[in-house]
């Protein structure tokens, strides 16, 4: 084992947790959309709905956990490199925000905010609409309206998930560029 200081071991730990969280987010979203989604379509609709609900409920915990962990470990890595400061934009880079590194870092944080907003939209707005049950006393028109609302919510969840995959891959591209000074 190399003779590293505690700071270096902590940096390795933060990097590991950061990378695993990104993997859970990107790989999880891609698997949910392109592996579990088509597999779900191979069973009867009633069972597919139960499966979709179970997998989405569980996956949303992973989404929030990984988003939180990415932010926390990202900040801890900046702190470890003495790049966190107490005033806007709360981090300093060798060349400040005018440098590519700082601008790329700021863009990554802003895109993280977009992912968090999209996650909140799915969790607190679209998922409850998808889970609503059809009452026995409902008229045919009400049942049809409720079903249309569910279909619309499912379409929006799919659109947002695909947008999130693209954004997360863009963040990964920016992250990869940081080792060479940034992208923007």
């Amino acid at each position: 084992m190399p003779d590293y200081t505690l700071d270096t071991w902590l940096l390795i730990l933060y990097s590991f947790l950061h990378d695993i969280s990104i993997a859970v987010y990107i790989g999880g979203a891609i698997s949910m959309e392109f592996v579990l989604g088509p597999a779900q379509a191979s069973i009867p609709p009633a069972q597919a709905q139960v499966m979709g609900q179970k997998t989405a409920d569980r996956f949303l915990w992973f989404v929030w956990g990984s988003l939180g962990m990415v932010l926390l470990t990202g900040l801890l890595r900046l702190e470890q490199k003495r790049m966190l400061v107490g005033e806007w934009p709360f981090f300093q880079t060798p060349g400040g925000l005018s440098a590519d590194y700082g601008q790329t870092l700021l863009a990554m944080i802003l895109l993280w905010c977009v992912l968090a907003i999209n996650g909140a939209l799915i969790t607190f707005y679209f998922r409850p609409r998808l889970q609503g049950k059809l009452g026995s006393g409902m008229s045919a028109a009400q049942v049809s309206a409720a079903q249309n609302a569910k279909i619309q919510a499912a379409t929006w969840v799919q659109r947002i998930t695909r947008t999130d995959i693209v954004i997360a891959l863009l963040i990964a591209l920016m992250g990869a560029s940081l080792a060479r000074g940034g992208l923007i």
């Binding site: 990097s15 590991f16 695993i20 790989g27 069972q47 080792a179």
Partner: protein, 175 residues
């Protein structure tokens, strides 16, 4: 070019490891409350898709990783923190070698699952089979499922350890 290779490598690792974790902790969890017959259908469908996705990702990881190592030069390594060296006398070189071994093991495991264990799980029952033959067939499929389970756990642990090894390269290696 280096940024593009780094991104491809990261995205492929993320897709592969995140997919493996999702299959284990999301799909398995959902399967607990599904009827047995439908678990089989979902497993077959999702398993097949995931295996091809995993093999594709591992191919991208191997090509991009190998290419990045070929593009490394002494001047770039010297500029990095701790000035790592691409030799077995240095933690960086040893960690890279271990990562390459882990990659070979992962490719072998995923290929074994895709081409041996997955087909072995299919039940081959014929109307003319005796009760003993049906029981033996069930036992064979049960053993194949148990082997697949062990292979999946091995793959999951090895892939997560590999991410740790890769993360340690920023600091100069782990072993």
């Amino acid at each position: 070019m280096d940024t593009l290779l780094g991104w491809l490598h990261t995205a492929a690792w993320a897709t592969y490891v995140g997919g493996a974790l999702t299959m284990e902790w999301v799909l398995r969890y959902a399967q607990r409350e599904m009827p047995g017959s439908q678990v089989g259908v979902v497993c077959k469908n999702a398993g097949m898709r995931y295996r091809w996705l995993a093999l594709g990702c591992l191919a991208v990881i191997g090509i991009s990783g190998g290419w990045m190592v070929l593009r490394l030069d002494d001047a770039e390594l010297l500029a990095r923190e701790g000035a790592p060296a691409l030799s077995l006398g240095d933690a960086y070189g040893r960690t890279l070698l271990l990562l390459a071994v882990a990659w070979v093991l992962l490719v072998a495991t995923v290929a074994f699952m895709a081409f041996v264990l997955h087909p072995a799980q299919r039940k081959r029952s014929k109307p003319e089979m005796t009760k003993e033959e049906v029981a033996a067939e069930r036992e064979r499929v049960g053993r194949a499922i148990a082997r697949m389970d062990r292979a999946l756990k091995f793959e999951l642990v090895l892939s997560v350890v590999s991410v740790g090894l890769g993360a340690s390269l920023h600091a100069g290696g782990l072993i």
